[in-house]
Symmetry: C2
Subunit: 207 residues, 2 copies
Amino acid sequence: NISELTISRLSIYLRCVDQLLEAGVETVSSQQLAKRFNLNSAQIRKDLAYFGEFGVRGVGYNVRQLRQYVVEILGLDRERRLVIVGAGNLGSALCHYSGFSGGNFLVVGVLDSDPSRIGDATPAGLLVEDAARLPEIVAQRQAEIGVITTPAAAAQTVCDRMVDAGLRAILNFAPIRLRAPESVLVKSVDLKVHLEELSFFLAHAEG
Amino acid sequence: NISELTISRLSIYLRCVDQLLEAGVETVSSQQLAKRFNLNSAQIRKDLAYFGEFGVRGVGYNVRQLRQYVVEILGLDRERRLVIVGAGNLGSALCHYSGFSGGNFLVVGVLDSDPSRIGDATPAGLLVEDAARLPEIVAQRQAEIGVITTPAAAAQTVCDRMVDAGLRAILNFAPIRLRAPESVLVKSVDLKVHLEELSFFLAHAEG
Ligand SMILES: NC(=O)c1ccc[n+]([C@@H]2O[C@H](COP(=O)([O-])OP(=O)(O)OC[C@H]3O[C@@H](n4cnc5c(N)ncnc54)[C@H](O)[C@@H]3O)[C@@H](O)[C@H]2O)c1
Ligand SMILES: NC(=O)c1ccc[n+]([C@@H]2O[C@H](COP(=O)([O-])OP(=O)(O)OC[C@H]3O[C@@H](n4cnc5c(N)ncnc54)[C@H](O)[C@@H]3O)[C@@H](O)[C@H]2O)c1
């Protein structure tokens, strides 16, 4: 039962390690990592030790090995296929974003229920398909992750259909809390949290 | 020098407290908060104590007062006005999202450099305006936050112009690391981190 905060720290460590590799750094200690990226060195050691023996005490980490270790913990060492349901503004922006369709993630379907959108070409080259074909598309293209970018009113129905189609991990952007079985992870995103971080900065910069 | 992780925890506490209020809960201890939302009770106490005296030991927190306390720390007790530059898919999705233009956040301008987009009505009722008018729009409408939803190639130029126009907090979606003066906070968002959390779940659910 790992907390969401622990996983998000692993994603942060991955980005830090990528920056170190770009800068040609080959070894790094947890103290150096903490100092350079404003992290907590004890927390870094605790997080990495949780998943197994890693690193030699007093010697620091080999950056390339550290990256591979975090990649494997996050399950990024194999391809993960996505289906996006809701081909409006947000769905379109996500389907041709390099983060969603690059590296080990691949968008294999963009679906919508509006007949006037079905058949449209998306910027990434996929054609928008009928949302009614979700079960068949998930099975044929071995999708593992569903992304919901529909209005809130449609989101629970879409979520239920994703679960029925066999998807076990769902990323939800609609502003509504979704119900799903225990065996399915539904992660809701609220971009407002990033505005809150900026608001914190503005409030404390005012002194 | 508060870490980004501390601020994101405050945003999480705010959502937890909102759920408690919805459920009619009036008081809560740090242990109950931790158990119900899979958090760390010592971390909650440490975070809240950092900003001042709050709560009475052994009695727990008054939920409504806790909410107000976190709202003030995050600077959400006053209006924060945003200008979005890049009125494409993502920019359009953000300008009429209730999280960006609701509560204490308000989108006061949606700008673009493409003449064929200028003058378009956005779903939120604002008209797309010429990006060249950024300084005048920031001054006249007292914007504090800039949001960059342009392609990566244009992002640094847009960031520089936001800084020159007086914006001190910038939310960047373009996949590029931006340079800005010390006095300006640039927060880059990579929605891929949410896919990584789902990937972690899939990798560990496989057993
Ligand atoms: N979480 C966030 O931070 C965030 C940010 C921006 C937008 N949003 C949310 O994302 C959602 C999409 O926003 P948008 O700007 O792209 O809206 P949009 O109206 O442009 O797109 C919605 C699309 O969903 C389709 N749709 C509706 N019902 C459907 C169904 N049952 N099955 C399949 N497709 C269906 C519509 O035909 C439309 O194409 C909204 O719920 C919005 O509130 C969230
Ligand atoms: N960070 C994330 O998680 C995430 C997710 C999706 C998309 N993106 C990124 O967001 C950006 C926008 O994506 P999109 O799908 O909306 O693209 P888009 O092509 O639909 O929109 C880009 C808009 O920016 C405008 N533009 C270009 N140069 C400009 C300039 N100098 N000043 C003002 N406007 C300018 C264009 O005219 C266009 O309207 C891209 O960089 C994309 O990679 C990031």
